[in-house]
Symmetry: C2
Subunit: 208 residues, 2 copies
DNA sequence: TCCTTGACACGTACGTTGTACGTATGCAAG
DNA sequence: CTTGCATACGTACAACGTACGTGTCAAGGA
């Protein structure tokens, strides 16, 4: 009888692949173990419990962030880092709930935050403003991902037409502003909106 | 034999109470049913499945938002609405993962978004900027809640001293900027930081 | 008054999940 | 070859979500 050997990276990448392919509900000990060609309990040699497995997926997503080298323009750097991070999160829609709720524990998970603070520090901000700016930008990234996942301008598993219909009937009567904006949002790309909002925030930061 | 009668509100408030008291893991059909004095299957008369139950909790949290009446100052209104919403979310920490990942389906869930757009519309923003601004503010609210829940400047179940120690040892070496900021964050209140970041964003919006 | 009918509370039971615990197997060092 | 440790693996159980069936109430018509 042969005994397979695994590395944490094997588990990590297979877990992410599983989530990408079959959705978040498919991320359970048995499915992942089967995908790796072993039994459920083997995984417990690499992960404390199911929660640990989810953290692994978060790490896998965040690790894929490809940080740009610093330039002399902190605003441009800030926008770049935020955009790249946002893209990495968006690249794995099924994993977004995990990214929003689980903490990233690996070193790679801290890298974007570190780069972001480094960029912001090259502005002339005081400590308190720096902290607020950092929180705001990270918040914007996560919140934008969340909004796309479950925001009031989106609808769960439906086509764009269904979305318009659903929002139209559900919110249209009592919530005319939401309804009007949902029409606008259908004509614009998420990335364009994100970038626009991000630039607004950076402008506000620069004003402080 | 007596048959109890329930209303959706009974279920909703009991579910939120359960989450507040015993944590998110305690939100299951059996526990909630027991708390209501009945069996698990009774709940299925009010809720499609467990997911529906979670949406109910989200509704309960968002419904508690106490929106201020509009004034003539859209900036002030925007900040007020955002702050009040953020407070409502923060009032139920255990429910935050649900608020971040589940969609609010009830009418009450749309109210803050509607009020926010209404306030922003009273600025002179174009449609695209309005959309971006709305997304950014909602994103900031959700993202800030997320950051407090699982951000790089926090640590899971630990005292403030442990946090400093943990961040210090884990991130201190390789991530000096994070480490430095975590010290700053320990001396400031979450609300102050949130407000500060929010004002930055509103400033940026006003500049557009 | 009695019967019908629909809504809904509830019980039973099954498949799936996470994981505690015990066992077995390979590799490395002596 | 032997010993010991790390770790792959099997078994088994408790807790979960929920399909399905049964029972019981209240309201409306004859």
């Amino acid at each position: 009888m042969v005994r397979a050997r695994y590395t944490l990276d094997d588990i990590r990448s297979e877990a992410l692949r599983l989530v990408d392919r079959d959705g978040l509900a498919a991320l359970n000990m048995r499915s992942l173990a089967t995908a790796l060609g072993t039994g459920p309990m083997t995984l417990y040699n690499y992960v404390r419990d199911r929660e640990g497995l989810e953290e692994l997926v978060v790490d896998a997503v965040i690790s894929a962030v490809d940080l740009p080298p610093p330039t002399s323009d902190w605003r441009r750097d800030t926008i770049q880092i935020a955009t790249v991070t946002w893209r990495a999160v968006r690249a794995h829609p099924a994993a977004i709930p995990l990214v929003l709720t689980r903490r990233s524990t690996s070193a790679a998970g801290f890298a974007p935050a570190e780069a972001l603070i480094a960029a912001l520090r090259r502005s002339a901000l005081g400590d308190r403003d720096l902290l607020a700016a950092f929180r705001a930008i990270l918040g914007l990234i996560m919140g934008s991902a969340q909004a796309e996942l479950a925001g009031p301008l989106t609808s769960p598993p439906a086509t764009a037409k269904d979305t318009a219909a659903r929002i139209g009937t559900l919110a249209g009567r009592n919530f005319p502003h939401i309804e009007a904006l949902s029409h606008v949002s259908q004509k614009s790309s998420p990335e364009a909106d994100f970038t626009r909002g991000l630039k607004m925030l950076v402008t506000g930061i620069a004003a402080a």
